[in-house]
């Protein structure tokens, strides 16, 4: 009876491990693709203008003071794509004063200023990457919730998939070793001992 269970385990363990491998590969790709594809995304706009913007005219936004006015002011964009990029940037960029809130989620004065800067840069045709670089050059990597891919951040990016791979290997080795054990038939002595143990307690003891 116990042999049946072991065999059933072996039959199901093969497709399971295949699925596991596929899952690990997919997750690793999902995790790293956005960054690996990062440099290519700079082609999304064709603007060749330098990031350092020309002195911004006060006419775009009248010199309004006070948080409510600037927050509630409707923003005009040239096209829907610009608006989408603007809102994605507000989610990705961090308010430098608040430690852990995005520009979209903070109403501190500096977050308002950086929202306005983001709007002006996007409206002027700068790419997402250029806006990000503009912010990073002033506030450092801290400003972005998307850490850059470089030698010092490899661990950050690759540790989670690496741990997953290590876990998968460990799991595969374990399930394989139990298969091997089931293939070797019991010797006469072992068989006798098994009978003894089963007969003594009336049930199978857990193997050591």
């Amino acid at each position: 009876m116990s042999l049946n269970i072991i065999q059933a385990n072996r039959v199901t363990s093969l497709p399971q491990s295949a699925w596991l491998v596929i899952g690990v590969v997919m997750l690793t790709l999902l995790w790293t693709l956005p960054v690996l594809a990062g440099p290519a995304s700079s082609t999304e706009t064709t603007s060749a203008a330098p990031v350092n913007p020309a002195p911004l005219s006060n006419s775009t936004i009248a010199s309004v003071q006070g948080p409510l006015v600037s927050t509630l002011m409707p923003l005009a964009f040239d096209n829907p794509a610009q608006e989408v990029r603007y809102h994605l940037l507000l989610e990705e960029l961090r308010c430098p004063k608040c430690q852990n809130a995005s520009l979209a989620g903070s109403d501190s004065p500096i977050a308002q200023d950086l929202r306005r800067k983001t709007y002006e840069l996007v409206k002027a045709g700068h790419s997402t990457r250029e806006v990000r670089d503009y912010m990073v050059s002033r506030y450092g990597d801290f400003i972005s919730y998307r850490p850059p891919m470089r030698a010092s951040t490899w661990f950050l990016w690759f540790a989670p998939p690496l741990l997953l791979v290590i876990g998968a290997i460990f799991w595969l080795l374990r399930s394989k070793s139990s298969d091997v054990a089931s293939d070797t038939p019991l010797s006469v002595e072992e068989q006798a001992r098994l009978q003894l143990l089963l007969g003594k307690d009336g049930e199978q003891k857990p193997s050591r």
């Binding site: 010199s63 003071q65 430098p96 004063k97 500096i110 200023d113 050059s137 450092g140």
Partner: protein, 188 residues
């Protein structure tokens, strides 16, 4: 190594991981978790074109002093600025050259603030929109920068200036810049 002891060794992995985690977390316990952006330190002072707060002049980066100086970002709306103002006045009497950036403020409020508490600044920039603030990497007020004679940002201090900060950070940095034009060993 037998199969059994190999298995035992594998079980040690979680324990080791746990100990490493405890050591890492313990090391950070009680420390200030505030992350201070310092990206503009070491950079050239950004170009600007701003009105003077105290007269009708227009100031640019060329108007800045040609010697090491402190640049203080303040606002009449900022309680911590009011708290450090007496110490800035004290530094001014000691002959420390200071440039003020009136940050995101109303002209009338800023002028009455200066007339009530004194004006320790040789130059008063009016950054009503906070554009210079963004270029400097300012997150709020008060913040203080040490700028060298070549108009390069050498130090960025966030928060109130008091005797401790002056003795420990600002003064050593300013002194090293005065002694040696290129030296910035004491600026950190």
């Amino acid at each position: 190594m037998s199969r059994m002891s190999m298995r035992r060794a594998l079980w040690l992995i979680p324990l080791v991981a746990f100990v490493v985690l405890v050591v890492m977390l313990w090391g950070r316990l009680g420390r200030d978790p505030m992350i201070v952006p310092q990206a503009t330190t070491g950079q050239a002072f950004p170009a600007f074109r701003l009105n003077s707060l105290t007269d009708s002049g227009v100031l640019t980066e060329a108007s800045l002093p040609r010697q090491p100086f402190l640049l203080n970002v303040w606002g009449s709306w900022c309680p911590t600025c009011a708290a450090e103002q007496p110490y800035l006045m004290h530094l001014a009497t000691q002959g420390v050259m200071m440039v003020g950036v009136n940050y995101k403020d109303q002209t009338a409020d800023a002028l009455s603030y200066l007339s009530a508490r004194g004006n320790p600044f040789v130059l008063n920039l009016q950054d009503a929109r906070g554009d210079l603030g963004v270029d400097l990497g300012v997150t709020g007020a008060p913040e203080t920068f040490v700028v060298n004679a070549d108009h390069r940002i050498m130090q960025h201090v966030i928060g109130e200036i008091d005797d401790t900060v002056w003795q420990r950070q600002l003064k050593p940095c300013l002194d090293s810049l005065r002694v040696n034009q290129g030296g910035n060993a004491a600026c950190h």
